[in-house]
Amino acid sequence: MSMPAPAHGAAVAHAPESFWSRYVFSTDHKVIGLQYMFTGMAMALIGGFMAYVFRMQLAFPGQSVPLYGLVTAREYNALITNHGSIMIFWVSMPVLIAGLGNFLIPLMIGCDDMVFPRLNRLSYQIFFVSVVIILISLVVPGGGFGGAWTAYPPLSASAHYNHTPWGAPLWLLAVALEFVAFLLGGINFTVTVMNARAPGMTAMRIPIVVWMIVIASLVFMGSVGPLIAGAVMLFLDQTVGTQFFDPKAGGDPLLWQHLFWFFGHPEVYVVLLPATGVVAEVLTVFARKKLFAYKTILGTAIATGIISFFVWAHHQFVAGIDPRMAHLFTITTLLISIPVAEMLFAFIATLYGGSIEFATPMLWALAFIAEFLIGGVTGIFLGANATDIYLHDTYFVVAHFHYTFFPIAIIGTFAAITYWFPKMFGRRMSETLGKIHFWGTVIPFNLIFIPLFLTGVAGQHRRIYSYENFPQLSTPWLNHLAVIATVALIVMLAFQVVFLVNFFWSMRHGEEVGANPWNANTLEWAAPSPPPHGNFVTMPAVYRGPYEYGVPDRDLDYWPQHVPNQEELPRA
């Protein structure tokens, strides 16, 4: 870690040689970041396939699904449960926090690695074990856990109710291990950013995405403790028959709901913040603009993180809590719209006076803002306790949720991958394929979830295997909407092939690029592409903030953070 600025190439000489030590048991933050990213992408394929299977069942109930077969109610429940769990815990978290955090933090703050490299390796190894366990849980006798990703007891607590004697405890064990992995990662991120910044990298010169990942890590660490305690109790309920959550023995099912959502809602912001950070980086580079109101954005992120601890019971308005409590949580929930809206306003204001280039990463970043706005405004219907009575657990919630999480986990991730790909692999991705993939993803995405807003408002509940038994809620009109959503999903999934081809082809055959192909300011672009073990040839020092684009009286419209004031710049 903080060895005195290594001489030219010294760190490179220490790079591990063998395949195993270099790619599998590496302690290099970049390798670990890519391990997280590739694992997350593989899990996304599994989660996407699950969505395909259960959407086919919803559109064409009772018919055999191509590449899968007939979907039973048991399988349907397992598919929706694990789709949600995998997409949140094994895709969003590893890609956005662990993947980006590991890859970017040392490069962007200007150091050679995380301060706890072996802790970092342990974090990925625990995460990997959790991946193996969640995959095993899908094929054990009784099938995968089917009690929804929220795992409300007593259903989740006893095989007598859920009929998944192996699936439920394995699911819970996997989730708990995943939390441990991210706790270790979060400690590492926070300590690294506090202690290992390059000279001159003051707090207000740290790129927003790094701030966002640190705030997200702190929010995660603050909120996950109660859920780990809850998970231990639930695991004991499942395996040795303690009855923490069973009212027949004096337990309380609502206790789990509070512990779960005390973590579960901050978790939304844990993944939102890094995605907004990515958007901030990409917007500034491709609009050639200084970020509008850096300190305000930072303040909104901190405010969001703090308020996110006080909104959890808005998931429980109709769960049997004291009705008066719902008022408090309505107030906090609508209050959290204020900093999030202000952050988006600042992003939109950043575009003013820009010179906007519609490169693929920029398209993703702009799409994030446009789509997330829909997720934001529909959240108001659910945060208001009275309308939530009706909309709770309907497809409206599903659609709202995906209008927040899809921009975060998919659009934000694609913005990040297309933007940092040249740094990761030293080559460019194809712009043509990138744009085909962009439109082939964003248009179908809207056609999936706008219909679900309508079916939700029309009264259809989520998690129902088949609507055939509900005469009023399975009208031809609603069935058409279900078919539209499903067809759009298939189209969107098909377009992901374009991305995979582009990604793997460009890794080997893309146009080679230098250190700074986008003419960006932040420190990672001062390192070679791809950065060697130890990152920087000469450890950088920092002379200014990260967003000095379009500075008047300069020839170049950018001014990298590591370039000394006097040195550079042939002035006009």
Partner: protein, 231 residues
């Protein structure tokens, strides 16, 4: 505006639909204005040869008002919406008006049991009518319900009433509704409750006073006969 998609059949439904419309138009204006400005800026400041970007830090008060004024407007809208939400919630969930009748709703894996008071309008008397997956109510009558669960968490959902309440084992949760329209509608379980979660539909029959009396008459005869044969 919710009635475009699903009938409203209770007093609570009218109030919730009103709040839904208020929120819809408020956030609708925000949405259109924000997207309009957003796409307008994208179009206006697209890259053109020879045109450099401006240097705007957004740190001075003068610049910041571009985000601080919308910020105050968001706060104002939030206050209005919070007030509306609290007012409607208070009527729908918090304050139960004096009921004309009380019914009992029992959820279990995977069926609903309904205990209707008989013609005497009192529960726990011999003329009570117990049904499975079938709820009969009289239009224009204020009902209180007592909701319990035998096993796991279920959720008692009647979309046309805009009514939803989780049934939690070990607790008896009270709520109310007052139907305003006759007809037959769906009741569903809205909380994942296991393999048969989709198999918990029940029929809600909202009847006129005469129809309801006739139905009760039919069933109390049966109930009384059954009670007689037991004793």
């Amino acid at each position: 505006m919710l009635e475009w998609l699903i009938p409203a059949a209770s007093t609570s439904a009218d109030e919730i639909d009103w709040l839904f419309a208020v929120i819809f138009y408020t956030v609708g204006v925000w949405f259109v204005v924000a997207q309009g400005i957003f796409f307008g800026l994208i179009f206006k400041f697209r890259r053109r040869p020879g045109v450099r970007s401006l240097y705007v830090a957004g740190e001075t008060k003068d610049e910041k008002r571009w985000i601080s004024w919308p910020h105050y407007a968001v706060i104002a809208c939030d206050v209005v919406l919070i007030a509306g939400a609290i007012a409607v919630w208070r009527d729908v969930k918090q304050v139960i008006p004096p009921p004309d009748e009380t019914i009992r709703v029992i959820a279990q894996q995977w069926a609903w049991t309904f205990v209707h008071p008989g013609p005497d309008r009192q529960l726990d008397t011999p003329d009570d009518v117990v049904t499975v997956n079938e709820l009969h109510v009289r239009n224009g009558t204020t009902y209180e319900f007592e909701l319990t669960s035998q096993d796991v968490v279920h959720s008692f959902s009647i979309p046309v009433f805009r009514l939803k309440q989780d049934a939690v084992p070990g607790r008896m949760i009270k709520g109310w509704f007052r139907p305003t329209k006759t007809g037959t509608f769906d009741i569903a379980c809205a909380e994942m409750c296991g393999l048969g979660h989709a198999l918990m539909p029940a029929a809600l029959h909202i009847e006129s006073a005469e129809e309801h009396a006739a139905w009760l008459g039919e069933h109390t005869a049966v109930a009384a006969a059954a009670a007689g044969s037991r004793s």
